[in-house]
């Protein structure tokens, strides 16, 4: 199968200088567009060349474990896979309940009572009751990972990539200042949160948005970029996922999408290739061509709309055979080729 790569209507491709400054990467997008897949691939791409990258999951779904076909991730960092050229990808599943308990143990030394509360559902209840608390705990833990240094004074991780909540919830998730109104005014949580706010709004952080070339995901992408900017957060790359190659010559698309396919030319061409097809098959091929053209035309206008966002874009090809671990490396290669590092 040929490697699809459709770079023709790309507004501004590539991983910009600015994106290279980021060490903390959030990957958001409409549900089902490929956040988990691309967060994992981005992690691999950033880890290639011998770097250490932490992949963080926050939604409690164990999507990463499923994707990498490993045991469910514990609340603790652990080796996931090796990256090309000696890099390492590690993973952490941040569970808000566990993080809250950890916090309690640290400041209140609760012992067994904390576990009892958890068993009774009270911790889950508390984090549901105050959704802001959940977000503050999770982003707090992420910050700790980003800023942690080893004994040699170097950062423990070169990059941290977060498989993030979907576009509808991303700004709320990252807007720690607002989330803090959900928790009490004093105490260590508040103090720690100030540092988190600073990191999230700094050039060290980028929020990438995954989209498909379809109407709804594109609309949500544009809305998210605007909301992020309004909240003083930094939208990063628009990652256009599942791009399929336009097969038709560009000049034929508009006419074909309108139902105008020159079938005698197609027939002549097929005959030249030694294919003598009956009328029904030829009609079928023409119908498929029209459908293809309609889709490509819609994708083109989706691409144009995305251009309005004026963000750097990255394109990832659709893999007809689906996504397995090998495919993640394949996508990581595509990312590296597009300048991700």
């Amino acid at each position: 199968m040929t490697k699809p790569r459709a770079g023709r209507y790309t507004p501004s491709a590539g991983w910009t200088q600015e994106l290279r400054k980021a060490r903390l990467h959030f990957v958001t997008g409409k549900g089902g567009t490929g956040k988990t897949t691309l967060a994992a691939s981005l992690g691999l791409a950033l880890a290639s060349g011998g770097r250490r990258v932490l992949l963080v999951e926050v939604e409690g779904r164990q999507g990463m474990a499923q994707l990498f076909d490993t045991e469910p991730l514990p609340y603790g960092e652990r080796h996931l896979v090796s990256a090309p050229d000696g890099g390492e990808l590690r993973a952490l599943h941040i569970d808000a309940e566990a993080a809250l308990l950890e916090y309690f143990q640290m400041f209140y030394n609760l012992g067994f009572a904390g576990r009892t509360l958890r068993r009774m559902g009270a911790i889950e209840f508390a984090t549901t009751l105050a959704p802001g608390l959940r977000d503050v705990l999770i982003t707090g833990k992420i910050k700790e990972c980003v800023t942690r240094t080893g004994s040699d004074g170097r950062f423990a991780y070169d990059h941290v990539v977060v498989d993030s909540p979907p576009t509808g919830r991303i700004v709320r998730f990252l807007d720690v200042t607002r989330a803090l109104t959900d928790v009490t005014k004093s105490g260590p949580i508040k103090g720690q949160a100030q540092g988190v706010v600073k990191l999230l709004h700094s050039p060290e952080t980028a929020v990438h948005v995954v989209t498909l070339l379809e109407e709804m995901p594109v609309r949500e992408t544009l809305e998210a970029i605007e909301e992020l900017s309004d909240a003083g957060l930094r939208p990063g790359a628009v990652m256009i996922n599942r791009v399929r190659p336009p097969r038709l010559p560009a000049r034929s698309i508009t006419a074909a999408a309108d139902g105008r396919v020159n079938s005698s030319r197609v027939r002549a061409g097929l005959e030249a290739a030694g294919l003598d097809l009956d009328a029904a098959t030829l009609d079928g091929l023409v119908d498929e061509t029209v459908e293809h053209a309609i889709r490509i035309a819609a994708e083109r206008s989706a691409m144009e709309q995305l251009g309005e966002a004026k963000q750097p874009t990255i394109e990832v090809a659709d893999l007809t055979e689906g996504v397995d671990v090998a495919a993640l490396y394949e996508i990581a290669d595509m990312l590296v080729e597009m300048g991700v590092r």
Partner: protein, 382 residues
Amino acid sequence: MAADVKLTRLELDKLIENPKTKVIVCCGSGGVGKTTTAAALALRAAEHGRRTVVLTIDPARRLAQSLGLDELDNFPKRISVEGFEPAGELWAMMLDMRRTFDDMIIAHSDPERADELLASPFYQTISTSFSGTQEYMAMEKLGQLVAEGEWDLIIVDTPPSRSALDFLDAPKRLSSALDGRIIKMLTSPARAGGWGVRKAFTAGLAMATKAVSTVIGGQLLTDASAFMQAFNSTAGGFKERATKTAELLRSPGTSFVVVAAPEPDALREASYFVERLSDESMPLAGLVANRTHPTLANLPATKALAAAEALERQEGNGSPLAAAVLRLHADRAALDQREQRLLARFTRAHPGVPVVGVPALPSDVHDLDGLRIIGERLASAE
């Protein structure tokens, strides 16, 4: 061919025409086409003579507009468009979660109590951002529509949750969070009997709950506690209501249609859901595999590719159009094969479950004509 497993064809026309079918619930994971399927089935049922209402949840704006749903008003509106004269009637509504919640409170408590509940700051939290509220309110609304007794057929869309199972689980989760036990413990741990907690531990627990309330704020807990006490003493309680609506889903006349994209994740979700339905003795009509890509021309992919390559090798590629047509056919044939393989795998795991594939339209579905075509494809009646 991988698709040598025998598929049982899902016959949706039989289902929607059967006067005994009263409720159809369209479920599936996010973005697979639940709303589209629900609306298309409703349109078709109306055209087949039934007085039908579709309860949609978060429809895309253009679809909502074409159904005449410009605003959320939380009750069904009859669809009347020029040239649309179904043998039956088509009514549609969009769920307004907040309004449904308000109405539920108002209907079940005296005016004074209702005002108090609606004004509670905690009520603002659960009615907007508590997970599970949307599912709970969808069920509540369905209960109301059934109680009206006016409809031949009610078709229900389900909220855009990540997992189809949320539709069954979320109301229970919500009601157990709100049944008051946890809050009672957090606000007065000393009296929290019945938790299997020994006396000696209560001191430790008291400290722990104090930690919780320090972190999330005592006020929030007090608000929540007041709300729950008031609500559970008037409206029969969340749990009881959730149980009642769950019974509704088990009653004769209700059928589930599971929608899935022909992709591994969506079909895996559909598998879980199908098993769950059978565990809970909820009747499954079958699986809609939405947005399939069957080939329209009978030409093997290998042959098409070989011919395309032959053309491209020719001096100056004399026929780029024909080569392109062959290549896009080969792409489509490969996709078709993969989809058939995935569906065959599903059928092997669930041999009794009828399936129908709905070929993708080349563009979005946002008007009655589009819905009609989807309806035809659902009924395989093209």
